[in-house]
């Protein structure tokens, strides 16, 4: 017996369809729901036990008893009770972009309606999200008279943009002059005996004025660091590492980029040195330091 497909000439495409569509009668209950839907109203039907079925059925699924003649308007908003996110919509689907299928309990209903929700991303549609229908302009009495649902408005985005002009303080100016010249200028508090960098005019610990400048080397030790996965205009690439670097001779660390080493190899205690841009390119700015790069010395115990 042959077990492999026969030649391509003996393979044919075959379509099963009802040209023009298949006509179905709706009966009084489903017909009423679809008629109201055409008018832009969402209606549920009451069971003898007082539950409201949406979409309506002719019989109570719990008991098999016929439903009552009592109709109630529900929705149009509802609460999402479960979702599935479609990454690649199919031709038969209601939307041509990624969307969610959802079970939606319309306000006033005791059962959930299945429909599509245009939410942008799965995160925008947690369980319990509130949604509202988007109606088709031309309605015919069909479940697709609701094109789809969309999340209720729960937030707005307000653009904020205000301009300022900043001038460097005398102590920052002094520090940046040092950076321009390839030196880290710090200061020593006469009372606390602590060395701070950048240079400042008063001690953050005791509040006393500081006047003693200290020139610090451009070598130091990484005390802690973070691997950043979001792009930053000041960073060369993603991921990049920002670190606290304790310059040799300083008592508090300075925050700076670490480069020239794969992000996952950066560690606490790593010895680093500032990589300076060429002197002719320097300005009164921290960009004079491209980043700190490992010196290759053994790690330091912190």
């Amino acid at each position: 017996m042959p077990s492999d497909p026969v030649s391509k000439e003996l393979t044919a495409d075959h379509v099963l369809e009802f040209p023009g569509g298949y006509t179905r009668t709706t009966g009084p209950v489903i017909g009423r729901f679809l008629t109201e839907l055409r008018d832009g109203r969402l209606m549920g039907v009451r069971t003898t036990e007082g539950r409201t079925l949406v979409p309506p059925l002719e019989y109570d699924p719990a008991t098999g008893e016929p439903v009552t003649d009592e109709w109630v308007e529900v929705g149009p908003a509802g609460t999402v009770t479960a979702t599935a996110w479609v990454h690649e919509p199919r031709e038969s689907h209601p939307l041509d972009r990624p969307f969610a299928w959802a079970l939606i309990r319309l306000d006033g209903a005791d059962t959930a309606l299945v429909h599509a929700v245009d939410a942008g991303s799965p995160k925008a549609l947690p369980q319990g999200a509130r949604v509202r229908p988007v109606w088709r302009a031309e309605r015919s009495g069909h479940i697709t008279d609701i094109s789809h649902f969309v999340p209720e408005v729960t937030k707005i985005v307000s653009p904020v943009s205000t301009r300022y002009r900043l001038t460097a303080s005398p102590s920052l100016t002094r520090f940046l002059e040092g950076v321009r010249d390839g030196i880290f200028i710090g200061c020593r508090c006469a009372t606390c005996e602590k060395v701070y960098v950048p240079y400042r005019l008063s001690c953050p610990e005791c509040g006393n004025p500081i006047s003693e400048e200290v020139a610090l080397p451009d070598t130091g030790t990484v005390t802690t660091f973070a691997i950043n996965n979001l792009p930053d205009p000041r960073a060369p690439e993603v991921p990049f590492v920002s670190a606290y670097i304790l310059l040799d001779g300083a008592d508090i660390p300075l925050i700076a980029l670490v480069g020239g080493v794969p992000a996952h190899e950066v560690r606490q205690g790593m010895r680093v040195r500032a990589e300076w841009v060429p002197p002719e390119e320097r300005t009164l700015s921290m960009t004079n330091i491209r980043w700190f790069t490992p010196t290759g010395e053994p790690d330091v115990e912190l």
Partner: protein
């Protein structure tokens, strides 16, 4: 209640594509196999399960009868469902007492069309089918409602594929999750497209033991169904599977192994809870539907696999389960004992 046992089981080496076999050609080898295993050449009753929508041809089960030898005329029936329900009908027929043997088979080629579209056609035609709600989407809605941790789904999928690789009839599928198709379902959470068939012979009374040393006696069999519309049910549990399991007596004694008809990873979690299976029950040692899913035969294969362990003398008490309809709407549970 008349004693009825599974005395023979056979299945095809399932394929992921159409090999060009006509349906009688697909079925004939498994029919031959169970005739040889049982030593029977004719049967008191014959019942099959299939779905014409898979082939896109009406009454395809009628031409499939050519594989049986239906002359002189035979007593025959068909369900437009998985072969597991054909087995149920055959079991009921044997309870009448006037015939002692039954041949049951199920078959389907899901590679011929687009199964996601075809399964949309089984949905309610007023509220669900017009939306184009496809099979993966409604299954993913249930998985979303259940909210099972990814690790739990992955464990089911990985174990099913590993077991499937050891099963000569199932597929060698990669041991990785694949992409997310309809979230939260990934590729390995979804039963593969499969063509195949399976057959079972039932025998009643003393005849069962004359045919085989270890008949797998059906000690309980029941099926229950729930409302069709997804929004009218609690999709996080399967009340119908639980009711069927209680009616079939699953919990009356320890269960060595259970073959559960879970076409999606999350369904196994729901079924395991519904059937109240203890921790030490082995689930789907065949790999289950996640390792091979010949639609309309998969449920019958679950019963066959569960019976085969008893026929082989490897197990004393097993459970075979079959499901039908969207999101485990309809469940059939069979308890088999040595």
């Amino acid at each position: 209640m008349r004693e009825v046992a599974v005395v023979a089981f056979a299945q095809t080496e399932h394929t992921a594509h159409d090999t060009g076999l006509s349906e009688p050609e697909l079925i004939a080898p498994v029919i031959r196999a169970v005739k040889e295993k049982s030593g029977l050449s004719t049967f008191g009753f014959t019942c099959s399960g299939s779905c014409d929508y898979l082939a896109g041809a009406p009454f395809s089960f009628v031409s499939a009868l050519d594989a049986l030898g239906a002359w002189p005329p035979i007593s025959e029936s068909h369900v437009e469902m998985d072969g597991a329900w054909a087995l149920y009908e055959a079991w009921v027929r044997l309870q009448h007492g006037d015939v002692d043997t039954a041949l049951v088979y199920g078959f389907g080629k899901s590679s011929l069309g687009d199964l996601r579209t075809i399964m949309t056609l089984q949905l309610d035609p007023y509220y669900l089918e017009p939306l184009g709600l496809d099979q993966l989407s409604f299954a993913a809605l249930q998985a979303g409602a259940l909210g099972a941790p990814r690790a739990a789904l992955d464990a089911v999928a990985r174990r099913s594929r590993e077991d499937g690789r050891a099963n000569p009839y199932a597929f060698d599928l990669p041991l990785e999750g694949g992409r997310s198709v309809v979230e939260p379902l990934k590729e390995w959470d979804i039963a593969p497209i499969t063509d195949g068939a399976a057959a079972v012979v039932l025998a009643a009374g003393d005849l069962a033991r004359e045919i085989t040393a270890n008949p797998a006696y059906i000690r309980g069999i029941a099926h229950r169904i729930e409302p069709h519309y997804l929004g009218m049910r609690d999709l996080t549990r399967s009340a119908s599977a639980a009711d069927a399991a209680r009616a079939a007596g699953v919990g009356k004694a320890p269960v060595d192994l259970a073959e559960l008809h879970a076409c999606f990873s999350h369904e196994e979690l729901i079924l395991r809870e519904a059937l109240e299976l203890p921790e030490d029950t082995v689930i789907n040692p065949s790999g289950g539907a996640l390792a091979a899913n010949p639609v309309m035969a998969t449920g019958l294969i679950r019963i066959g696999e569960a019976a085969q362990r008893i026929l082989d003398g490897a197990a004393r008490r097993t459970v075979g389960h079959a499901a039908s309809g969207p999101c485990l709407q309809h469940n059939l549970v069979t308890v088999l004992e040595a």
